[in-house]
Symmetry: C2
Subunit: 105 residues, 2 copies
């Protein structure tokens, strides 16, 4: 017996905490500047805030804010190294994101 619902291109079979976490990741990466930061980190892992400030046409404080959004959403992680902070992609969370998107889309 079938449901009568035609097959869909995706299931979107997700809910609760997982859904909220995924939506927050979507929101964080759904900004052109922040997406650029992510791209940059692929080829410049461990770079410091100043490198990212140089990349973007934005003030240092604004970049710092964008980095905070990416960090809180789980896309990146920052490590204090002396007076600087070095950033890397958060590989574990990105893998989670990739897997979830693969499951539901």
């Amino acid at each position: 017996m079938t449901t009568g619902i035609p097959e869909s291109c995706c299931t979107l079979d997700i809910a609760g905490q997982d859904q909220a976490r995924l939506v927050e990741m979507f929101k964080a990466i759904g900004n052109p500047h922040r997406f650029e930061v992510m791209k940059f980190l692929v080829t410049h892992p461990g770079c410091i805030t100043g490198d990212i400030v140089a990349l973007l046409p934005l003030a240092q404080s604004t970049v710092s804010q964008h980095l905070k959004v990416l960090r809180q959403a789980g896309w990146i992680e920052g490590e204090v190294e002396g007076p600087a902070t070095s950033y890397c992609l958060h590989e574990e969370n990105i893998a989670w994101f990739s897997a979830k998107v693969g499951e539901i889309f």
Copy 2:
């Protein structure tokens, strides 16, 4: 010869129009209400605006606005049917999204 850059969990190998389009899709789906609409459409393809209004704790005009955002980002398509509008997932665009995310993450 290698680049000296350690392997990454993703390539994010995308640019230009494709990147802009993808970021806009991320942004549109990065909202809890809009994500719920997408989930609903999986199981209720062809439903009308009023069905979605009934789903969300929002005014009709607000829901209409969210539907517009999803439509403009390419997530859904609406078809006027008499006085109503019926909505479906935009399968082609969703397939594009899924493929792109799969490529770069």
